[in-house]
């Protein structure tokens, strides 16, 4: 299989060995099936061990796996009748964000997501999934359209961040993100957000203020990338692994902290190992969310989002005011 990761090495070695034996059997016509069976049993054990105790940094690697399914991969498996819609009507069409209309289990939805490429060529076209303001404004346009026609919005988050470029600043990157946050806060249709890969900072949150926010087991979501955190905290981006351990960015951590609503399990070893199966896991979670949210009135949906975010934060009070002489 392509792109095995460092932490998978014990499993990879066994997989290679099994493949080798099998081809040897085919070539020479010698029966080694007992040996193969023995190794396959051991592989199952090793896989359990390797994938059962993944560190945050291991998960970051899986989230960045070149073969990891993207928004468009999931769209093709989760929805029918998808029609991609382009442009923000103000400046241009940012291909780092895709969006459109589709049906989910026969019902109309609007679906929006960050879109990165799987190879250099596509990544250049998609700007590595790092949006400009026009990407966020396209997303907002489609959300408001969904609101007008009363269909739920599904957002798939997968970005290393909003693009830090000159033109992005000139066209108001800050305002584009900020506007989306307040507009999502007031959206009168169900809004379900799922982090499918990387979720870095305001660039992710800009399509992430949902009624429900779910995360794939091996995705990450953070105020800043592990590399960025390491650079700021310890002046050394090489300490990204340490940042990943410290910052609580994985789905299990954020689930425990109550930041996300649900951790969607991943196929053992990562979504890329069985995309179809992974799409089924997502489909199940999405169906549950939409069922639940479709019971709510417009006012309830907005109030639900308010209550959800209002609760997030950690602080205490002291009895006396301080500092003022």
């Amino acid at each position: 299989m392509v792109g095995e990761l460092e932490f998978e090495r014990p499993a990879k070695e066994l997989r290679d060995k099994i493949a080798e034996l099998k081809s040897f059997m085919d070539e020479k016509g010698i029966d080694l099936s007992d040996e193969v069976e023995r190794l396959e049993e051991r592989l199952a054990k090793v896989e359990k061990e390797v994938y059962g105790k993944m560190t945050p940094w291991d998960r970051v690697q899986v989230a960045r796996h070149p073969e990891r399914p993207t928004t468009l991969d999931y769209i093709s498996m989760l929805f029918t009748d998808f029609l991609e819609l382009h442009g923000d009507r103000l400046y241009g069409d940012d291909e780092a964000i895709v969006g459109g209309i589709a049906k989910f289990h026969g019902k109309p939805v609007t679906v929006i997501g960050h879109q990165r490429g799987k190879d250099t060529k596509e990544n250049l076209r998609r700007n590595f999934g790092m949006p400009h303001p026009e990407g966020y404004r396209k997303a907002l346009r489609l959300m408001k359209q969904a609101e007008k026609f009363n269909r739920p919005v599904v957002c798939l988050l997968d970005t290393k961040g909003a693009y830090p470029g000159m033109s992005a600043e000139e066209r108001g990157q800050s305002e584009a993100i900020a506007r989306n946050l307040v507009e999502m806060a007031g959206l009168t249709v169900p809004l379900v957000c799922i982090i499918i890969g990387e979720g870095a900072s305001g660039g992710a949150l800009a399509i992430g203020v949902g009624n429900h926010v779910h995360m794939l087991e091996n995705s990450w979501y953070s105020v800043i990338s592990p590399e960025g955190a390491a650079a700021l905290l310890w002046k050394d981006s090489g300490q990204a692994k340490r940042a990943a351990d410290t910052m609580k960015i994985t789905a299990p951590d954020l689930n425990e902290m109550g930041i996300i609503d649900k951790m969607i399990p991943e196929v053992e070893g990562g979504a890329h190992r069985d995309v179809k199966k992974q799409a089924e896991y997502i489909e199940e979670a999405l169906q549950k969310s939409l069922d639940e949210l479709s019971e709510m009135s417009e006012e309830e949906l907005v109030a639900h989002r308010y209550e959800k975010y209002k609760k997030i934060g950690q602080y205490t009070f002291e009895n006396d005011s301080i500092g003022v002489k």
Binding site: A162, Y163, P164, G165, M166, A168, E169, E170, R171, G172, Q173, S174, E175, I177, A178, R179, L181, V182, M184, A185, G186, S201, G202, L205, A206, G208, V209, Y221, S222, V223, I224, A229, L232, L233, T246, M247, K248, I249, L254, M257, I259, V302, R305, Y306, Y309, K310, I312, G313, Q314, Y315, T316, F317, E318, N319, D320, S321, I322, G323, V324, K325
Partner: protein, 284 residues
């Protein structure tokens, strides 16, 4: 009566504090970092910390800002007893917070409260970059949210003076979520048809720039204030070219349609009062 009590308690709103002296390390004389001219500290303070030769706007503390903008005796602080926690167990984090509390006389990087601007009642928040670079963690997000909620409840305008390097790293995802929290509160304030004015001061960047700071009904900024989403160095590394000198200044944003106006500090109070007055409906 009650007003007097509060006014008395907050002496810093009327007399220069120890802190103000600290801000001007040379003591009696101050050198402008822009034009290098030397002026007396008294002169500088009298000019609201604007260089008398070149108009350079020195950084202000929250207390100084309040003194400049809010009518004397009307300031009533809220949530000054909220305390920072250490959700990710970063060593030294709370020590640093304590140091900045002692240094600034504030419980966190924003001061919030009720007050009046030329007789117009408002709820406001003033961020202070002297406290952990004005970065936003749980307490900053919560204090701003509660101030917005108070404004919504009392049907008052909300004004914020921003000064922030962005989200607070040490509180991780909780800091990011403060962007969403302040936004849901602003949405309610907006739905109630109420006025929100954002005044961006130096510096307003990252997660603060990319949330409440940029979505005022009116977006103002002080001259030359640094305002932007991504840091200059990161952008230069990304695009591999040098950026223009005025990049991400208030004037740059004005030129690119991101601001309603760049307002000189000496005109700030009058400008805010003008907007507040027009929003009263003009019955006078």
């Amino acid at each position: 009566m009650l007003k007097d009590l509060f006014a008395k308690k907050r002496k810093y709103a009327t007399i220069p504090s120890d802190r103000m002296k600290q801000e001007v390390p040379e003591g009696l004389m101050t050198k402008c970092p822009e034009c290098k001219s030397i002026m007396t500290t008294k002169e500088l303070n009298k000019a609201h910390k604007v260089c008398v030769s070149c108009d350079h706007h020195f950084r202000m503390t929250a207390q100084e800002r309040i003194q400049l903008i809010i009518d004397q005796g009307t300031f009533r602080e809220i949530n000054q007893d909220m305390k920072t926690e250490n959700p990710l167990d970063f060593p030294d984090y709370l020590d640093r917070i304590d140091k900045d509390r002692a240094k600034t006389g504030m419980n966190e990087a924003v001061m919030t409260g009720h007050g009046e601007v030329e007789g117009n009642p408002i709820v406001f928040a003033v961020m202070d970059a002297h406290f952990r670079m004005g970065s936003m963690g749980s307490v900053v997000g919560e204090k701003i949210t509660r101030a917005i909620e108070a404004a919504t409840e009392e049907r008052k305008p909300f004004i914020i003076f921003t000064a922030s390097g962005g989200a607070r790293m040490q509180e991780g995802i909780l800091s990011l979520m403060q962007m969403a929290k302040t936004s849901v509160a602003l949405r309610r304030h907006h739905e109630a048809g109420l006025l929100f004015i954002s005044v961006m001061t130096h510096p307003t960047t990252g997660g603060v720039s990319a949330s409440f700071a940029s979505v005022g009904d009116y977006n103002f900024a002080e001259p030359k204030a640094l305002i932007g989403f991504a840091g200059r160095r990161i952008i230069e590394q990304t695009i591999r070219q040098e950026l223009p000198e005025d990049f991400q200044t208030a004037e740059f944003l004005l030129k690119h349609g991101q601001l309603d106006a760049v307002v000189h500090r000496k005109k700030m109070k009058a400008t805010l009062a003008n907007v507040l007055d027009i929003h009263k409906g003009g019955e006078e």
